[in-house]
Every structure is written in C-alpha cells, then in structure tokens.
C-alpha cells in the first residue's frame, strides 16, 4: 500500500479542482497542497475507505479553510447556508450569466456540494462524509446552490423566463 497509488488520481483531482477553485493556477496550487497533506498523513489512511474520497476530503478541508481565512470578515457563517447567495448585485444584469460565472459566485460550501453531487456523483451520504456535515446540511446546501444558480441565470426581472433548455447554451 504505497503512497504512489495517489498518482493515478491526480488528473481527476486537477480537473475537479478547476471547477471548485475557479481557475487552473489556483486549482493546481490546491492539488499540490492536497498531495502534500496526503503524503504527510499517509499513515492515517486505511485501505477501508476509497482513496479518492479521502483525497477529496483533504482537498475540501484545505479549500474551505483557505477561503475562510481569506474572507475572515464574514467568518464561518459565510460558508454555509446562512450566507446570502451572491446573486443580488447581478439581479439587474442585462445579460444572462453563464453557468461558470454563476457557480464561481456561489458561497464555497454550496459550490462544493453542488460539484460533489452533480459532477463526481457522490451520494448525499458520501458527500456528507467528505464535508463532515450531516446529510440534511448537504441537502439544504444542494437546494440553495441550485436555486441560487437558477436565480443568477434568470433574465432580469420583468422579462419572461427563458425556457430551461437555454441554460446549456454556450
């Protein structure tokens, strides 16, 4: 059970981190930190849980701690359900936001749930394990994330709502 078995997971971690962290450079910094943490804690890993999920746990811990440190002004509360979804300044934006910008504007803890469930296809219980929160919290964050993205991508008030299929336009 050598630490080198982490390596095959690196491409997937980097791909996922780009959605989580927002750009390639920050994503790679995050993955690098995750690998260092994983190597340092390798002795704590037990072959029981899936290695990928363990790496995801380390990565989310690092990421959420980093953003918490960066925006100490709104504190831990800024990271979970109590945070206002940050779509309000954009309510009057004439253009519909594209999905990537909408996701980037989500509070990080909501974004993490949206990606773990929607992209990585973890079950709600697995996502709860990775983020170390109750399943109910995963569900409420998922709901807030999806509703926030939906609101951000809606056209300005007063116009008729666009058909949902337009959400995937490029």
């Amino acid at each position: 059970m050598g630490v080198e078995q982490i390596l095959p997971h690196v491409p997937a971690l980097r791909r996922y981190a780009r959605l989580l962290a927002g750009d390639a450079a920050r994503a790679d910094d995050l993955v690098q930190d995750t690998l260092e943490r994983a190597c340092a804690k390798w002795a704590q890993w037990r072959p029981g849980p899936a290695l990928r999920a363990w790496l995801m746990t380390l990565m989310h811990n690092l990421y959420l701690n980093q953003v918490r440190d960066r925006r100490h002004d709104d504190g831990a509360a800024g990271l979970d359900e109590t945070a206002e979804p940050s779509h309000e300044p954009l309510a009057r934006a004439p253009e519909m936001m594209d999905l990537e910008r909408a996701v980037a504007r989500l509070p990080p803890a909501l974004r993490a749930v949206l990606l773990l469930v929607g992209v990585e296809e973890y079950t709600y219980a697995e996502a709860a394990g990775i983020l170390d929160v109750p399943v109910g919290t995963v569900m409420s964050r998922l709901h807030r994330a999806r509703e926030s993205v939906r609101a951000m991508m809606e056209p300005a008030a007063g116009e008729p709502p666009r058909p949902p299929l337009e959400l995937v336009r490029k």
Partner: protein
C-alpha cells in the same frame, strides 16, 4: 432522502435529478410533478444545470501531471529505504562531530573548486545577503506559514525551516533565489549578538542530484559553509562562526530535517 410520509418535497426532486431516488418513490414524484407544473419546470432547470456542469467538467483538460506534483509523491514513497540512509547519515554526522572540527577543513577545505554548484551558490548568497541591514529577507519569520508554502511551491518540494533557538539562533525569514533546474531558497537566522547564519536549500529532480551525500565543508572569505545532500535536496549551512559551533548548528538542523526513524 426518502421520507416515510408520502408528501413529495424538494429532497425528492433533487434525488430524482441526481439518480438517487428510491425507485419506490418514483411514481409519487411523477404524480407530484404532473400536479405542480411550476415545480416540474424548476426541476428541469436543475437537470439542465447538472448537465451543463458535467459538460464543463468534461471540457477541462488539465494535461500531464506537473513534475512538482509527482515529486511530492515520489519523495514520500521510498520511506523504508530512506530511513536506512538517514540512519547511516546520522551516524556519519555524529562521527564527524566527534572528530571535533579539525577533520572537516583538513579533509575538505582545500577542495572548494570541487564543491558542487549549489554549495558555491550558497556561499555566494550568504555573502551577498548576510550584510543586509534593512532587507536581509524577503518574507519575515512572522509569516512563517506563508514563507514555507511559498518557497515549497516555487521549489516544487516541501521545505522546512529548522528551529535553532536552542542554539541561540532565531529565524529571521527567507528569500527565493535563482537556480537550476529549480529556484533555491535561503533561510536566515540571527543570534543575540547579531551573528547570522543561512541555510540554503536546493532541490534536484531524480537523477539530476550531484553525486555523493557526504557532509563536507566549503571555506570562503566570508565564512564556512557546511553542506550535504539528502533525498534530492542539497543543503548548505553557512556562517562566520567557529567551525565547532557551525557544526553543532548543522547537526541540530539535520536532526530536525531528518528525524531518526
């Protein structure tokens, strides 16, 4: 999220979107959607979001794994073999200490020209930065976490700054220096009498490290450098100190960087 009650809630709709709905629950959810078209539209938007997210994810192509990431894992890998090397190196270092200083200059001092590039670069960097009064370091020790993260990232491998306060030297901070194939790092220490020591760190990819891991000294006009290779790292501790004192400092640094298994 399936509830015992038949009422269909948002949790059911999300589970439907994510393929996590209990199959027994599907008919109830479908009936609910038929009765509540607005909720059906909302759920369709969630589905579209999910598909768009997954398409975005597929478009991201991170390319080959950077060498710095592979190096992190490579360094952690041969732990068993390395512990032998560490133990052997520690014995060598202790034996050298017992030889009380004289051994070092006589054995290695005259061979400065034969010292590896990193050791000569370390002596030069020591000579350049130690006299700096106002800017001895780029990042001060007060931001030690940031300093170590930054330098580790730039060198591509984790770095540690030994704590030498028991020997009277406190960390002032560090700076990034040019080097090949990777940049170098310099940590600077100072004692209560204003005497300064620097620990210079070079990182080499597998196969590119200069040969030999013995502990050697390099004497220059500005003091003495005590250098060694370990595990793809090259270290040089430099100071204008009596050699026995420098050697004790180096022994302390080594013991912290490579604790006995």
């Amino acid at each position: 999220m399936t509830q015992a009650t038949p009422a269909v809630g948002d949790g059911d709709l999300h589970a439907f979107v994510d393929g996590q709905l209990d199959p027994e629950r599907v008919p109830a959810v479908l009936a609910h959607l038929r009765a509540h078209p607005a909720q059906a539209v909302r759920m369709a938007e969630w589905q579209a979001q999910r598909a768009a997210l997954r398409a975005w994810h597929r478009r991201e192509d991170p390319g080959p794994t950077p060498a710095a990431m592979a190096a992190v894992v490579a360094r952690a890998r041969p732990a068993a073999r390395r512990s032998w090397a560490r133990a052997a190196a520690a014995v060598l270092l202790l034996a050298a200490g017992a030889a009380a200083g004289r051994y070092w200059p006589q054995q290695d001092g005259p061979r400065a020209a034969g010292a590896p590039e990193f050791a000569r670069a370390a002596a030069l960097a020591h000579a350049v930065y130690v006299p700096e009064i106002r800017h001895p370091v780029e990042v001060a020790a007060g931001q030690q976490d940031h300093l170590l993260q930054w330098l580790s990232r730039r060198l591509g491998r984790p770095l540690h700054a030994p704590v030498l306060e028991d020997r009277g030297f406190r960390l002032l901070g560090g700076r990034l220096l040019p080097g090949a194939p990777a940049p170098r790092a310099q940590f600077m220490y100072e004692d209560g009498r204003g005497r300064r020591a620097t620990l210079y760190v070079a990182v080499f990819p597998p196969g590119a490290a200069p040969g030999g891991t013995a502990f050697r000294t390099l004497r220059t006009g500005d003091g003495v450098s005590f250098y060694w290779m370990e595990d793809g790292y090259g270290y040089a501790l430099s100071a204008d100190l009596p050699e026995s004192e420098l050697q004790a400092l180096a022994r302390e640094a080594y013991a912290q960087l490579y604790p006995a298994p």
